[in-house]
Amino acid sequence: MHETHYLFHIFGLGVTSTVTTMWAIMLVLTILSILATRNMEKIPKGIQNALEMVVEMLLNFFSGIIGYEKARMFLPFLGTMFLFILISNYSGLIPGAGHVPGLAAPTSTWSVTAGLAITVFFATHIFGVKAHGIGYLKKFLQPVFMLPLNIIEHFVRPLSLSLRLYGNIFGEEMVIATLLGLIPYFVPLPVMLLSVLFGLIQAIVFTLLSSIYFYEATEEHH
């Protein structure tokens, strides 16, 4: 990993190519959303229909794992995470990503995946406390001697989440970059097609695990 290159600073925070790419992704997603929901119609068509299908698909997917009630409640978080990671993964397939200043797949750096995993970590405990109040902490004492292991488990989760995502996306990009360097024509194509699949799988895995953490944190005591 080469030294982080800052394009410029805002509020003292260095802005890198991955950050600008994130902004671009945010912009695209927000504009699409505004276009889709600007004039909501009873019988959806065009972009409204397309995004409704995406939302329904995600809702059905998470409903199948954590039940409709919880899926409906957590969908904004999980759905946003899914779309953000998915498009971040795919942004690495744009020619020049990682080389052109201002364009780099956000999920190909550990910093970004760690940031996302940390949001999941805090969201998990916030949802847990919201659902059970202070009684949420009792979950860590079942049984009492498991307390240290339970705590470790909760801190390992963001680590595994972020490393899995980062490792996969970074690895794919390295493979494609290497292949492009060796034989620039045709050979990288199958790998790039596989990357499309892996990008989707990694986005699903990340949000799927997040949804399970949320479910676990908010489920009723037994």
Partner: protein, 161 residues
């Protein structure tokens, strides 16, 4: 492999901002629309269910009505048949009676006619007998005998009177 704190903080900020934006422009409106739509479909389905039930009830009612009408019609037909049967029997028995009466009358008539005829024949025979007797007597008796007979007859008649 290292963590750049600037990128990490940006990732958190960006995600939270995107979450807020998409919540306002994507999740909230679309989830509400989906809820509304499923609510509407549910209410449409339940009203369709109610209408179906109503239609079934009406169908049942009409079936019952038709069955009632059929049985009523059957009853009317039965009654008509019975009345016709009765009427027929009555007419036949009347006809029998009438026939018997006519036969009786005819017999009476015949009897009367016969009697009349016999009487007439008897009278005719008497007259013919007298005439024949007269013819016989006319040849055998003389004028004096005849006058004598008439006188005797008249005398007898006069005695009776």
């Amino acid at each position: 492999m290292h963590i750049d704190l600037n990128e990490l903080i940006w990732a958190i900020i960006n995600f939270l901002v995107l979450l807020a934006l998409l919540y306002k422009f994507l999740w909230n409106p679309i989830l509400n629309t989906l809820d509304k739509r499923s609510e509407e479909i549910k209410s449409n389905l339940s009203s369709a269910e109610a209408l179906k039930k109503q239609a079934e009830e009406m169908l049942e009612e009409y079936k019952k009505k038709i069955a009632d009408a059929k049985s009523e019609a059957q009853a009317i037909i039965n009654q008509a048949n019975k009345a016709a049967e009765e009427n027929r029997n009555k007419i036949i028995s009347q006809a029998h009676e009438e026939a018997a009466r006519i036969i009786e009358k005819a017999r009476e008539e015949i009897r009367r006619e016969k009697e009349q005829a016999l009487k007439e024949v008897r009278d005719e025979i008497a007259t013919l007998a007298v005439m024949a007797a007269g013819k016989v007597l006319e040849k055998s008796i003389t004028k004096e005998d005849h006058e004598k007979l008439v006188r005797e007859f008249l005398a007898e008649v006069g005695e009776i009177q």
